[in-house]
Symmetry: C2
Subunit: 425 residues, 2 copies
Amino acid sequence: MGARAGIVVTGTEVLTGRVTDRNGPWLAEQLRRRGLDVGQVVVVGDRPDDLRSALAYLAATNDLVLTSGGLGPTADDLTAEVVGDFCGRPSAVDEALAGRITAIVERLMSRRGWRVDPAATEAGTRKQARVPHGAVVLEPVGTAPGLVVPPAEGDGPPVVVLPGPPSELQAMWPAALEAAPVRAVLDRAVELRQDTLRLWGTPESELAATLRRVEDQLAGLEITTCLRDGELEIVTRYAPDAAAAYAHLVDAVRGDYAATLFSEGPDVDTLVAGALEERSLTVATAESCTGGQLVARLIDRPGASAWVPGGVVSYANSAKEQLLGVSAETLATVGAVSPEVARQLADGARARFGADVGIGVTGIAGPGGGSPDKPVGTVHLCAVGPDGVVTRSLVVPGDRAAFRKRTVTVGMHLLRALLLGGPPA
Amino acid sequence: MGARAGIVVTGTEVLTGRVTDRNGPWLAEQLRRRGLDVGQVVVVGDRPDDLRSALAYLAATNDLVLTSGGLGPTADDLTAEVVGDFCGRPSAVDEALAGRITAIVERLMSRRGWRVDPAATEAGTRKQARVPHGAVVLEPVGTAPGLVVPPAEGDGPPVVVLPGPPSELQAMWPAALEAAPVRAVLDRAVELRQDTLRLWGTPESELAATLRRVEDQLAGLEITTCLRDGELEIVTRYAPDAAAAYAHLVDAVRGDYAATLFSEGPDVDTLVAGALEERSLTVATAESCTGGQLVARLIDRPGASAWVPGGVVSYANSAKEQLLGVSAETLATVGAVSPEVARQLADGARARFGADVGIGVTGIAGPGGGSPDKPVGTVHLCAVGPDGVVTRSLVVPGDRAAFRKRTVTVGMHLLRALLLGGPPA
């Protein structure tokens, strides 16, 4: 492999899980596209010693180090100062930069109509305008400037200092790529491809046997497999000169898993959205146990309003009857958690929203509500479209959150099987 | 601070963001409750060298090291072997353990009705049954056993090796706590409290001024502040002997931010759920731009079926009319994105689900759909209940994902203000 990069994500709120980091994965993907391989992401709290030792750890084995977070106005935001010290470059206030930050803060405050304490704002602004000697300043997108700090001694990697809010970090990224110390690293990088094969219904241990069988044809490939929510992903990274080895892998997987290979690239969400768009079809949902997560996942994609008129979340049986036309008799005889009600939910969603496709989900997410007949995790799904009907009944293991996530993925595969065929849902 | 722990999360799928890590934060919280402070979480891909250097980095400054992931049957699952080597303890197959894993795998396969290749299963099983000499085995919850590996030389921290799937890791955790090398570390730990104050509508820079003013009364507190989705969280960790300092902090925040302090502990979701439960009220939703994320967030809590009969996601105007009774005339005159429609959505949700409280959300998530009058990010919310009506109109900055997340949080504060008063939504 060519050049490598390491990432430090700062923030006690990330370390403790109150905030989920989106920056580490985003930066890793941006860097990979430019041929820089990311081997480690370190999350540290807002403590100078921990940040310093994380920088030392990453600087030892990487050509570039990036940080996100810790650029705010409060005392626990200490990244710029610590990075400056680490690189042997003492910091001082950049007066012109302080003036630009002040103007930004005043505009923000007045737009939000928040009362402002000028003294508080000034102390914070001057803190944010401190720049290590010789560093490249990346202009603020929010209020905090970013930095590219080259090592004073010339023998370590440059450190790119970026803000924590993902929208600010992403907007600042093009400027970081243009900074001379970063360009020098990128010039040493070589292309690194990443391709994905996706199976639905194959256990990881079987795939392991296939990989062992063709092992000697796979030189130059870095293959990782991941089973989640019933999907088995095979992600391969390789330099362009290993393209023939990747073709061998694809052949082997096609040969052994024709019945479960559902994609040689796009994920199930992209396949479903593409099929709906191409055929100008719409889909409406009727959910109980997944509580809106299925419609939310469909609507996650920009432009979804063209193919999702909406959905109903019907926890109460009365809502199932009145909003979706589920029969009171069916509810009384076989119960809400049944294949019959899943079908009526799908039909109801289709009819009420005037959609081409309807999907219904009914089950028991737990922790309460189970019975010997219908244990927690029992779920029935049904998708109805112009070409037919696809159903699935199963018992999903795991807790409430795992149940909902897995069930929503099964729902996406129901739509995929209905619209595109391939492995059964 | 007393004893410290460091966590390594393995898996290229986590490093690249295809899977979001839930284990690092969960373990950090479990350890904090037992007085172990977690300073770093390192995410590494499935490469032995990177795992080895991460272990060395964490072992240098911690009393306990934990790993999650990399215990599966495929070749890229290499944690147990690398940890054994790192601790100076070579691994060998534990035949009795191999037998127990085989029985588990056969049961799983037959339950799922998957076709099984016995040779593949056996190779994977024997790999999973390899145990470093002298390590404590934690019985499998899925198919993979965990391990507690003491250092061979006696001068490093013990390493706890746990599986990647969160439900397996969590189920195995009590056994890990019982292992003798872990108990020895826990015996050295002292209680570490964590308390949170929550503000709605105060900028971080103002809070910084308050903290600076009372700085000399806050000795022994580790304070971190975090602004997200408009909420400002002040999280403080402290040993029991700093309780008086924490009381000073609470007094200062109460004094300066009486108008925006909405909680001295529970988050807004807990406050809303508690108010609904206590007063035996129900709430129904009608969303457009948030696409089901508001109802999904309400239903995230176990037991939510008692207070959420359901919700409608109505992207299409026809769905707003037919499912929620929004007037065609209002839609034609002021448009779907308007305070009037937000009100009619709230009324419609309340009426159609027979709920005590209805909440309506209508806006433009983008990237398309904006206009000079109604730019992307425009959103109107309305909550109607037995005691009155609360509304909010705003323009939310950021991309589609940020818009939806922030808008859902505003929705939760609308319900909080309606049910409990306090800072306006």
